[in-house]
Symmetry: C2
């Protein structure tokens, strides 16, 4: 680990991000441009996110399956909007088994085409519906400006693909996923508050009738799209000739949804909670929730290590992810810095003075506060502390998001200036026209992040851009 | 589900296998030759296998990470034996992002090359060792004769890649994985008894100094390689220039291992336990351990369903994976057949006559036995029954393996005839020469599955093939 200070967030946020990802051992670039190596510490965070999502995906009635990596190019080309949306990013296999292939194979950028061409065989009657399936997979979308976790040529994700008898059921599914799977994971596990909304037409998923999104605010004032859930109507069913006999005996097409969340969420964690000392991980996703750092000299080494091991065993037995950092080659100060950089929520320091007093020193990563705990109370208090850090990180992030949200700016210029400096979210009324949307993007690179599901309480009746009548609120920001 | 009878194992084992995989909803072929769709029921079995392996991989001190799907062709070509072994099976990406790539990218057939080229950056000192890492990933090996689960052009697996300071440590790692991760999972979770042994030189992994293997016997008398663990020596470290400063201050190369198990294990489960009625799943990997089938008429429907739901809730609360098959459109007999085909270990039948008597009827899938259980004892007895089915399936398979193993045949001709008919394993002494090995293969398609780690008790001193002095036992069989 380098001992140089990190760049600060306020002076160089992108530099800070890159250094934290590298030095905290989250990920690094590989020999293939744009494809990253997810290192064990970063992967353990992803595994915690996976567990949280997978649990909720199954609790809402879905099962996992697995479809192939390769999609025949002709199949991908069948869905016009889909191929148009993804063609520039597709990687193509043209040789295999020592021969040129008769038909090139696309490496999946997303799996709607392959899955819906298969659903044609799985659906005959309304009795076969709904299909409520998900897969965990890698996908490839060629990136010209890659950035670790945020935009990579290959990433890991889950993609859900469901088929329903009625439109109402499919729309309800899309919202169940948005609220009960994604928002619940983001807010209650990753401790990241999110805006829930619909995308404007220009930002919709290729082929979607409606795209729902969760938008999170990073600590540099930029937004990050955390997860999306698409209502796809009957388009894919028509393209791939999926139909069923309904309750009324009539042949009809099912209604589709798809939804995904990816390793990008690791990047969101870094940028939503990190500070100038490094990561601050919410306990529910921290690979190590508690790090014990023993402080000893040659004379008291055995006693201190023995007591530290006892605390580790007690916490471990209580289900806490705890580690004793007993590496002999490193000094305590070095270990403090390393685990602050890596964002371990709680540090326990234990030296012979503590032992004599019957206490340990506890430092929380989120606030930096230190206090003593009597040894017999370590088990109880650490549990409470972890739970407090989890809710506190969320509260702080929510407060930050509210503080950085400019609602109903006085005029268009104020909005543009706020967005240009990446001040945060701007919530204002919008007429719904693509021209106004494009004008804002031209002037300050900000896009409509979402049309919030919950309307602003005191919304103006006129569009912030053109002054015409406004039908809805929109939330703008610069975005990752 | 088709209602035609399955082909029987004794008359058409391959046909039986294909039909069971298809009708039990484990997997099906996709639009891409050799790549399969793993259906939800098959994937749930794979998830149970994954959980068992992942738990043991972590319990033995390993962490997961993730390396990219694509490997620059030049990097793959650096390791001579590796590229020679895999070149005929590699799929190659030549276009991406709308352009022809300057350097083609191989889709990983295995990840030694990419990982060891990266370990060069991760290892400087003996303090950085050992590296004990694993990844869950998809790999592609082009197959000319694909077979669902057994040989597919894309499959899912875990691949471990470790680096060690000494040869002794690396060899010990290879054996820890063989015994504590793989054999423990195979025998105590999948209920499949395995022979543990080394591969002969001709069957070793490309680049390996020693390949250890687990060999299982299928119900048609053919062997299946269930998992392998390779001691790779310093070859990869030399090729990719990985070195470290040792405790003695001298620069040296670390010692490598790699090890993998794949979705092929789902095929092994089918062929090791299945019978003429379909799958017989060990409870520890069964997606549904207990199926409740209610038997009712219009008049008693509410009472029966209510009682059935209460049993489901009680078993579910006790941690049993239980489902109530209350589909109104299907008759009980149809459900019995379907869940027998799908291998659910226990079926509970519940009708109003049972209710009046205060009992349920319980049928075990492995033996077909049926008996009554008083309602208040369902919770306890089902738990014991599941545990009994788990050990019983193992015992039956072990007995079958022993019965089908011909030890020290009277002569070469007896051995060849036994192997030609796929009678099972033949254990006999071998001189160690490739000529004898090739001769057997030519005459009856059987290969040396392993040189068992535990020697035969009464081994002949002469080679069964050539009569020369024999140094060791070998186990032969036809194999998948």
């Amino acid at each position: 680990m380098s001992t140089n200070a990190l760049p600060t967030q306020s002076t160089d946020f992108p530099g800070w991000y890159g250094e934290v990802v590298r030095r905290a051992d989250l990920a690094e670039n590989s020999a293939v441009r744009g494809a990253m190596v997810i290192k064990p510490y970063g992967y353990a965070i992803w595994e915690a996110i996976q567990r949280a999502l997978d649990h909720r995906i199954k609790a809402t009635g879905h099962e996992n399956f697995y479809f192939p990596l390769f999609v025949p190019a002709s199949l991908l080309a069948q869905e016009g909007e889909l191929v148009e949306g993804f063609a520039p990013e597709v990687a193509v296999v043209t040789e295999a088994g020592g021969k040129r292939l008769e038909e090139p194979l696309a490496v999946r950028p997303t799996s709607e085409a392959l899955i819906w061409s298969t659903y044609a065989r799985w659906v005959q009657s309304y009795r076969d519906l709904p299909l409520l399936y998900n897969q965990w997979a890698n996908v490839v979308r060629w990136e010209l400006r890659p950035r670790l976790f945020l935009r990579t040529s290959e990433f890991l994700w889950q993609e859900g693909h469901t088929a329903h008898e009625t439109e109402a059921e499919a729309v309800a599914e899309t919202l169940t996923i948005l609220h009960d799977v994604y928002a619940d994971t983001l807010e209650n596990v990753l401790a990241i508050p999110v805006l829930r909304g619909r995308k404007s037409e220009s930002e919709r998923f290729p082929g979607a009738v409606e795209t729902y999104t969760l938008e999170a605010l990073m600590r540099d004032g930029k937004a990050l799209q955390a997860a999306t859930s698409h209502y796809l109507g009957q388009g894919f069913a028509r393209t791939f000739d999926v139909h069923f006999t309904g309750r009324d005996g009539v042949e009809q097409h099912p209604y589709a949804t798809s939804w995904g969340a990816s390793t990008r969420l690791v990047g969101a964690l870094v940028m939503a909670h990190g500070d100038d000392r490094g990561l601050r991980l919410p306990p529910l996703v921290a690979p190590q929730q508690v790090m014990i750092v023993p402080i000893y000299h040659e004379t008291d080494q055995a006693d201190v290590l023995h007591a530290a091991a006892a605390i580790r065993d007690e916490l471990g037995a209580a289900g806490v992810r705890v580690r004793l950092d007993d590496r002999a080659d490193y000094r305590p100060g070095f270990k403090f810095n390393e685990w602050e950089l890596k964002g371990a929520p709680v540090r326990i320091e234990l030296g012979s003075r503590d032992l004599a007093a019957g206490t340990v020193t506890v430092a929380r990563r989120d606030t930096g506060e230190k206090h003593q705990i009597p040894l017999p109370r370590v088990g109880t208090e650490i549990g409470e502390l972890l739970s407090d850090i989890q809710t506190s990180l969320f509260r702080v992030a929510l407060h930050d998001q509210e503080r950085r949200t400019l609602s109903n700016p006085d005029g268009y210029q104020e909005m543009i200036e706020y967005l240009r400096e990446a001040g945060g979210f701007v919530a204002a009324s919008w007429c719904g026209s693509g021209e106004c949307e494009a004008r804002v993007k031209d002037e300050c690179s900000a896009t409509i992040r979402c049309l919030p599901l919950v309307e602003q309480p005191e919304r103006s009746n006129t569009c912030i851009c053109c002054g015409r009548e406004a039908a809805q609120s929109a939330v703008w920001a610069q975005a990752y």
